[in-house]
Symmetry: none
C-alpha cells in the first residue's frame, strides 16, 4: 500500500491527532528475566491510556534492522524508509534552519584535531564550545569558483555545510575515518556528475585546514572531517499525502529538520524541557490537525547506558500526559522512532512499543504500556509506516475503498 | 527489504549462530482442543530455552501455502522462495553429490511398475533396495545424440537424472501421474527452447523401458517416471549475502543438496542419527560462524501419520539441546521448514513454531515451546525469510541503517 493509494482516500475532518515520540523508547532488561526501562517506569497515565488503546510493536524499516533517526522518523511518519531516503547532511542542514534550495548539496562536518603526520587525534576537537564553533563556521563560509560553501554550526564540533551552485552532485564518499588514530579518508566521486563537487570540496577542506592553523589566539581545531553528502530529498509533503495541517514540536535540531523536510510546520519551543514542548502543544492546539511531539532524552539516556535515567525520562513524559489528554485529542499515538536499550548503549533493532488511542479504536483492554504488553496487543508486530493510516482511520479521515 | 539491502549492512563479528531445523515441526492436535505433537512432547530443555527467547510463528512462503522442502528451506535460510526457485531435480542431483555444471538440466526419476496396458501399478516399484537401484542407474546412464544422460540413484526407487549437452531447456512437464492406476503422462515442452530436451527425454525413457524389460535374472522395475526438470538456480551465496562461514549438518541427501546450492559447506556425519549430527556440530564448532542442523525424522513420522513417533523424535532433539548450549552459541534458532501434522499425513500450510534465543533477544518470558505459546510471542506471525536478519541482528552482525 503506497502513499498514492492512501492519498486518494484522504477526506477532510475536524479531528486532531497527537503523536508523542519518545526517541529510542524500546529497551531491554538489565538482567535476563528482568524488566525493560519502559516496564520499570511508573507510568499510571500511559497505563490508563493503554487500557483504552490498541497496542503493538512497530518495526521501523525491517526485521533486524537498526536505524538512525532519519529512517526511524520517516517510518513513523508513514513513509517507507527504504523508498525515501534522507542523508545525514540534509538532516543537519535543515535542523539549523538553513533555507535550502532544491539543487543544494549538504554535508555533515566535524571540527577535529590532527597531529603533525595528519592522523586524527580527536574527531570532536574536545567538543569545542558552540560559540567558538560558530566563529569558525563564519570563517569557513566562502565561495570557490561558482559554488557557495555555506557553513553553519549545529552544536559544539558539529557543522552543516551547504554547497550551492551549478553542476553539483551528491554521490561522494566522506573523509571521516570514524575513529581516532587514522588519517582522514580521501573524498571520492561515486559517479561522473559528482567530480566537480569532489574537486571543490577538496579545495574547501584544504582552505579550512589553513584557516584553522592560522586561527588566533588559541587554536580550537586544526582540521575538518566531512561526510553524509546528499541532495534535497524528493519527499511528498506530509500535509498533502495525509491531508493534515501538521505541526512539529521538537527541541533538538535534527528532529526539527526531519519534520521540516516532510513539510510539517516546526513550532518554536521556549525553553528546552519536555514540559515546554507540552506548553507549545497547548498554545497551538487550535491551529493544527496533527502534532508530532519529540522527546530526545530517552535516547540520550539509552546511548549513555543509563537505565535509571531513561526510566525517569519516561516517567517525566507520563506525568505530562494529562496535559495532552485535557485537550481531548481524537487520536493519540505514543511510540518511538527505534529502540535504544541502555544495556546496548546505542540504537537497536528491537521493535518499538506503540499505542494508538481513540474513541473508535478497538481497545485491547491491556492496562499496561510496555514491551511485553504491546507484544500481546492487537496491532501485532507491524511496520512503523502502517501507524499513520491506522491513525487517520481512527480520526475518520479515510474514505472507504471501493475497488 | 531485499538481500542486496541487507548485504550492505553486514559487518564482521566473532559471534556464532546455530539453526536447528526439525523438518515438518509444526503440527495439529489429534482431537479438537487437544495438543499438537510439539505441545505433547516433554521438552524441558526447549521450554527453558523458550523462556529466554523471542517466540513466533514463521510462514514459509505465504499465508495458506504448503511447501516442499526446497522452498521451505530457502525461506528459513533468508531467501524469498517465490523469487528464488530450486526445482526437485536440481535438489536430488546436488543431494547425491553430482558435480553439476551451470548449463546442466536435472530431473527427479522414479523406478516404477506398469502393467501390460502401460498403467502405473506401483510408482515406487516396491521401494526396491538401493543396491539394486544403483545397478539399474548404471545401466541407464548413456549418451543420446550430443547429450549425456547421467543417472544416479538417490535412495531406493529414487534417482537423479542429469542432462549435459548443448541446447537444453528445463521448461518441461513431468511424466509422473502422482498416483497409481494411471498411465505415465506425456512429457511436454513449455517453450521452444525445451523442445530438443523433450525429444531426447522421450528417447531416454523409451530406451530405459526396453533395458528394464530385458533385465535379468529378476526384473525389479519395468518403467521410469520423470518430473521436476530444472536448471541450475541463480542464488546469491549464503556466505556472501550474510557474511557468514556457514556449515550444514544433514544426513538426508536432499538437505545436503539445498545447503550446497546456497553455498554452505556440507559437513560429513558419521552415522545417521541425530546424536551423530550433534557430534559433527561439536567437532566443527570452531571452524564456522553459522551452523544449520537438520532433523529429518519429525517429517517422516508426520508423513506416516505417526503422532507418537513424531513426539518422540522431538523429545530426542530436546535431549540433545544441552550439547548445543554447552558450546555457548550467541544466537540459536529452533524452527522447521514447514509443518507436517500427523493427522494430515503430509506437509501443510500451518505456520511453524520458532524461537530465537540470544543475549540481546528481548525475551517473551514464555517458558514453553509450542504452537500456541509461539502464537503469543513477540515475533508475531512472520515470513520465514525474516528470521535470518533477526538472527544476524542479535549476533551483532548488522550495521545501523542511516538512510
Amino acid at each position: 500500500m503506497d502513499l498514492k493509494f492512501l492519498q486518494e482516500l484522504i477526506m477532510p475532518a475536524q479531528t486532531k491527532i497527537a503523536m508523542i515520540i519518545m526517541d529510542g523508547l524500546g529497551g531491554l532488561p538489565l538482567e535476563p528475566g528482568g524488566k525493560t526501562e519502559l516496564e520499570t517506569a511508573r507510568t499510571p497515565n500511559l497505563d490508563a491510556l493503554a487500557a483504552q488503546s490498541a497496542l503493538g510493536l512497530t518495526v521501523p524499516v525491517g526485521p533486524g534492522i537498526t536505524v538512525e533517526s532519519g529512517p526511524g522518523h520517516l517510518g513513523i511518519f508513514g513513509y517507507d524508509p527504504i523508498q525515501f531516503r534522507i542523508g545525514r547532511g540534509m538532516l543537519e542542514a535543515v535542523g539549523v534552519d538553513f533555507a535550502l534550495e532544491p539543487n543544494d548539496v549538504a554535508a555533515r562536518g566535524n571540527y577535529c584535531l590532527v597531529d603533525a603526520a595528519g592522523v586524527v587525534t580527536d574527531r570532536r576537537a574536545g567538543r569545542i564550545p558552540t560559540d567558538v564553533s560558530k566563529e569558525l563556521s563564519k570563517l569557513l563560509t566562502t565561495q570557490i569558483e561558482d559554488v557557495e560553501f555555506l557553513v553553519e554550526t549545529v552544536k559544539e564540533h558539529r557543522m552543516a555545510i551547504v554547497m550551492r551552485g551549478p553542476g553539483l552532485g551528491s554521490a561522494l564518499t566522506g573523509s571521516d575515518p570514524q575513529k581516532n588514530g587514522l588519517p582522514p579518508l580521501p573524498v571520492r566521486a561515486l559517479n561522473p556528475d559528482s567530480e566537480k563537487t569532489v574537486r571543490l570540496v577538496n579545495q574547501f577542506v584544504d582552505r579550512a585546514r589553513k584557516l584553522l592553523a592560522a586561527y588566533t589566539p588559541k587554536q580550537p581545531a586544526n582540521m575538518i572531517l566531512v561526510r553524509g553528502f546528499d541532495s534535497y530529498p524528493d519527499l511528498p509533503a506530509f500535509s498533502q499525502v495525509f491531508g493534515l495541517r501538521a505541526a512539529a514540536i521538537a527541541v533538538n535540531p535534527t528532529y526539527r529538520g526531519i519534520a521540516k523536510l516532510v513539510g510539517m510546520q516546526v513550532l518554536p519551543v521556549e525553553g528546552g524541557m519536555v514540559t515546554d514542548e507540552f506548553t507549545t502543544l497547548e498554545k497551538n492546539w487550535n491551529e493544527f490537525d496533527f502534532f508530532y511531539l519529540h522527546v530526545k532524552n530517552t535516547d540520550i539516556a539509552g546511548e549513555d547506558g543509563d537505565f535509571a535515567r531513561k526510566v525517569s525520562v519516561i516517567e517525566e513524559v507520563d506525568g505530562l500526559m494529562p496535559r495532552l489528554m485535557a485537550l481531548q485529542p481524537d487520536v493519540v499515538i505514543v511510540s518511538g522512532d527505534h529502540s535504544t536499550p541502555a544495556v546496548l548503549k546505542g540504537h537497536s533493532w528491537h521493535p518499538v512499543p506503540t499505542l494508538v488511542y481513540g474513541k473508535y479504536v478497538r481497545a485491547d483492554g491491556i492496562a499496561e504500556f510496555g514491551e511485553r504488553a504491546c507484544a500481546r496487543g492487537s496491532l501485532g508486530v507491524l511496520p512503523a509506516k502502517h501507524i499513520m493510516p491506522i491513525a487517520l482511520a481512527n480520526a475518520q479521515r479515510l474514505a472507504k475503498f471501493s475497488g
